[in-house]
């Protein structure tokens, strides 16, 4: 079990016990390593000022009562005395109440409450490059290096799944960028870590900017580069569902990791990522795009989605998961499964980790892999995939299954090799399966 982030931008995700379900068995109190749980004759309660979100108490609780969380202004958690008096949990505060209490978080508070899957990068990545490159003058070095790419990249599809919605691309180029307003910016990893990742919500006002899960946008950082020319745009995947981070508003979310070192580990301040992470609510940003027309989610109700990602590769996964979650709420997609493999160096670096864990198990099958947890062997997404070989193979036999891979370039080869092993071990023919996956737009690779 790993930690969950408790405070971001003035909003506390307060750990509470549901008095209606709790049987007062004392297991949680006995388990908590830092004595953050106590009780009186009526209720078991968690002390907000003590609980560090280590999650040790979660699985031992026999009832599930312990796994309850409420967003509250960090300065006003529910005090112990109030919790002792509860017969049931109080209703969640509305986004408006939270926003009023915690100055700058409006959409964001809602964003965090609404869980996340990963966002896939725009259709610009590996396979489907041409149009994107043309549109974004940001035909950046990043993208080119992806082009050289691994052998693995050749397995990625360049066509979308048959049931994908039609994507708009390149509505706004670098010559006529859209000015978007920042309506939220929160850290969605544990604060204080080098690899801070921010969840940023941009509002497009009345400008048309329709996006689908899996697409990306380009952000033009202000100012000029060393040669005195305007900065090129950097791409960021959409991390919210097609109807907006806040449904019904013309907005979209991004997941941005603050780059503080280059790929070789030398200290460097990434231009766009630091600019984005430092934005305040109300600031404006120049946006181009949208980009991407093949890394798009299938929409038919029996489609299964296997998502494999690392770090900010989670952005498109969050978008797809959230859209599925909203659809499911309305009774659609009962048969379609979601399976997620999510890798990071440590749990603290996993964006959206807390929310992701609170999604119901029958909705998404989560598999985490951490490569740098002290005292534990390194584990990568491909290791997790191999562990779940039986279930993956079952999905791969199904023509309704689509696979999305997104994250650091270096993951691509390992993931494709793991897929191959799973298929071969299950007695299927790799060449045939791989060819079909590609032709039918069912395997998508998006790495940067």
């Amino acid at each position: 079990m790993t930690t969950t982030t408790l405070i971001a931008n003035g909003i506390l995700n307060q750990h509470l016990i549901d008095p209606e379900i709790c049987i007062r068995c004392n297991t949680c109190e006995a388990t908590c390593p830092i004595d953050a749980i106590t009780h009186d004759d009526t209720n078991y309660v968690v002390m907000a000022d003590k609980c560090n979100g280590c999650m040790d108490c979660i699985s031992p609780c026999p009832t599930g009562a312990i796994d309850n969380w409420r967003k509250v202004p960090a300065a006003e958690p529910y005090p112990i005395d109030a919790q002792y008096g509860w017969d049931e949990l109080p209703p969640a505060l509305s986004a408006e109440q939270l926003a009023a209490a915690a100055s700058d978080v409006q959409d964001l508070s809602q964003a965090q409450a609404v869980i996340a899957a990963a966002a896939e990068s725009t259709g610009s990545g590996t396979g489907s490059s041409t149009s994107t490159r043309a549109s974004a003058s940001s035909a950046s070095s990043v993208e080119q290096s992806v082009q050289e790419s691994f052998r693995a990249a050749s397995f990625g599809a360049t066509v979308p799944p048959w049931s994908a919605a039609h994507a708009y691309t390149n509505l706004h180029g670098p010559k006529n960028p859209v000015t978007a307003t920042v309506v939220g910016n929160i850290n969605c990893t544990e604060a204080g870590f080098d690899n801070e990742t921010h969840h940023i919500v941009l509002d497009f006002g009345s400008m048309p900017f329709p996006v689908l899960e899996g697409q990306s946008v380009g952000i033009i950082p202000p100012g000029t580069d060393a040669t005195g020319r305007p900065h090129v745009a950097r791409q960021y995947s959409i991390a919210s569902a097609r109807n907006g981070e806040r449904p019904g508003y013309n907005n979209a979310a991004l997941t941005v990791k603050r780059v503080t070192a280059d790929h070789e580990g030398r200290p460097v301040r990434g231009v766009a990522s630091n600019y984005l992470c430092d934005l305040k609510v109300g600031d404006t940003v120049q946006v181009i795009g949208p980009f991407g027309h093949s890394f798009l989610m299938p929409n038919h109700p029996r489609s299964h989605i296997v998502m494999i990602c690392t770090g900010t590769g989670s952005a498109p996964m969050r978008a797809m998961t959230e859209w599925r979650r909203r659809l499911r709420k309305s009774g659609k997609f009962d048969g379609g499964k979601l399976m997620l493999f999510f890798g990071a160096r440590t749990p603290q670096e996993l964006p959206y980790f807390g929310p992701l864990q609170s999604l119901p198990k029958d909705f998404i099958d989560n598999n985490f892999a951490f490569s740098r947890v002290p005292g534990q062997p390194r584990r990568y997404v491909q290791d997790a995939m191999r562990e779940r070989a039986a279930d993956l193979a079952a999905l791969l036999r199904d023509e309704n299954t689509h696979i999305f891979v997104c994250g650091l370039k270096s993951m691509e080869e390992g993931v494709v090799l793991a897929l191959r092993d799973v298929i071969v071990q299950a007695g299927m023919d790799w060449d045939g399966v791989a060819a079909r996956l590609k032709q039918q737009g069912r395997l998508h690779l998006e790495t940067y």
Binding site: R24, C25, N26, G64
Partner: protein, 475 residues
């Protein structure tokens, strides 16, 4: 923290492989255990794959691992909570001395008796529940029953380990005897009365896991304070597992109530006959079952005055519930406690030395704890707008042990004549008619997500799984 070596027969965190003799002794006990399980464990369940929670180590990450397991392959093993460095005895006459890592000679007999008595209850309840699977109201409930069963089995292992490791030959013989006695067996019954009662139906099972397993919680909690460190560490870990049993009871009864209330509202009646005809258990019958299980269970705490209890406490063998959280001198020599007695047909309180009243102290703690749950059951009726409340009967009602044994008392604490008792006991305790009615509802209902008509589905599934999850897979 020890991790479990899966290559060994008996998973453990006590370095069993470093103690050859002990390992051999336990390995020779193991086949008898399995035979016992096959003979009197859950009937007909051998081939089922059950979604069980298994402990593989005692740290928070390790002790709640979920997956499909055949019960026979459950990782019964020996897990002790991690040792506390330099733990000292914190009550009784040895207060402040170092906790014992070995059994002191003078306490050997008493400790063995305590451990054997605790150990005897564990297989007993498995035996009592042997046939319940055949009438499970849902897959979810079936899984919960099996989880309770395997954990009782593991608790037996825990006690057997202590007997083997610390009590030599006597211990080995006692460990064997644990598998020889049998619940309800006329010639060789289980040690404690409640464990020879039948658990004939699921309502009894829920009442049993609510009331009687809660006795287990309080006994284990008192033993978890023990100066004998291995016992304290063993029982502390057992407590974490015990919680699930009480959950099954509390939520089980609550779901029965919920379903009854629902039908009461649908039919707009509280007529017992109409409700029974509609296939739900009427509330007065619930109250009678409660009266029975409660009164039988509070007897398990023993006589209200007991010199054994005083000895156990003073010598550090068994503490009070939450001993460490109490603000007194933890020696209790000059203190007194009130117990009930009957004088001239009237109940009255009398002061007795606290040390002699420790059974009563534990019983009172228990009573407070079980009352709180009954109050939560009453919320079910309150929410449904139904004007009926359950209550626990008076402490002196239907007692067989201690000063109150045989006293005729109404549930609300009024001494009654033998005549009144005879004429009204059918109002107060389940009748044969009640039991056969409840039995008539007990039909297996095993389609995933389906529940028998007399019980509501749970609020949530196990381990965040959906309620209609395949909790048990049949071959």
């Amino acid at each position: 923290m020890s991790t479990i070596d899966y290559s060994v027969k008996i998973p453990n965190n006590v370095d069993l492989s470093g103690d050859r003799t002990l390992q051999r002794a336990l390995e020779s006990w193991q086949p008898n255990f399995i035979k016992w399980w096959d003979d009197v464990g859950p009937e007909g369940s051998t081939h089922y794959d059950v979604y069980l929670r298994t402990a593989v180590s005692v740290d928070p990450q390790g002790w709640a691992q979920f997956g499909y397991v055949k019960m026979r392959d459950y990782r019964w093993g020996i897990f002790l909570n991690p040792a506390e460095q330099d733990r000292t005895i914190h009550f009784g006459d040895h207060k402040g001395e170092k906790a014992w890592q070995e059994v002191p000679g003078e306490h050997r007999a008493n400790l063995r008796r305590i451990i054997v008595t605790q150990g005897d209850t564990e297989p007993a309840s498995v035996e009592q529940q042997r046939h319940l699977g055949l009438t499970a109201p849902s897959l979810y409930d079936l899984r919960n029953l099996f989880q309770v069963n395997v954990e009782e089995g593991r608790h037996l292992w825990a006690m057997v380990y202590l007997l083997h490791k610390y009590f030599g030959r006597d211990g080995r013989e006692e460990a064997e005897a644990l598998l020889e006695r049998q619940s309800g067996d006329e010639n060789n019954p289980r040690i404690l009365g409640a464990f020879n009662e039948k658990t004939p139906d699921w309502l009894s099972f829920f009442m049993f896991t609510y009331f009687t397993d809660r006795d287990g919680k309080f006994q284990l909690a008192a033993l978890a304070e023990s100066a004998f460190d291995p016992l304290a560490r063993t029982t502390r870990f057992m407590l974490t597992e015990e919680a699930h049993h009480m959950f099954v009871g509390e939520s089980g009864v609550s779901r029965v109530l919920q379903r009854t209330c629902q039908v009461m509202n649908e039919l707009g009646t509280d007529d017992v006959n109409k409700l029974r005809a509609a296939g739900v258990i009427d509330l007065p019958t619930m109250q009678r079952y409660l009266n029975f299980h409660y009164s039988v269970t509070i007897d398990l705490f023993g006589a209200d005055q007991s010199s054994n209890a005083a000895t156990f406490y003073s010598s550090g063998l068994k503490g009070r519930y939450e001993e460490g959280k109490r603000a007194d001198d933890h020696a209790l020599h000059d203190q007194s406690y009130k117990v009930l007695e009957v004088v001239d047909g009237k109940l009255q309180e009398k002061d007795v030395p606290m040390l002699n009243a420790l059974n009563e102290v534990l019983r009172d703690d228990y009573i407070k704890d079980s009352n709180a749950g009954v109050a939560r059951w009453n919320k079910v009726m309150e929410k449904a707008g139904i004007d009926f409340r359950l209550s626990v009967p008076h402490k002196a009602f239907n007692r067989q042990i201690g000063a109150l044994a045989g006293v005729r008392m109404s549930p609300d604490g009024r001494p009654v004549t033998e005549q009144e008792w005879e004429s009204r006991k059918n109002e107060w305790l389940p009748t044969d008619g009640d039991r056969s009615f409840v039995a008539s509802l007990m039909k297996q209902c095993l389609a995933p997500g389906k529940f028998a008509g007399w019980i509501a589905p749970p609020v949530m599934g196990i381990n965040r799984q959906p309620v209609d999850f395949d909790y048990v897979k049949f071959q």
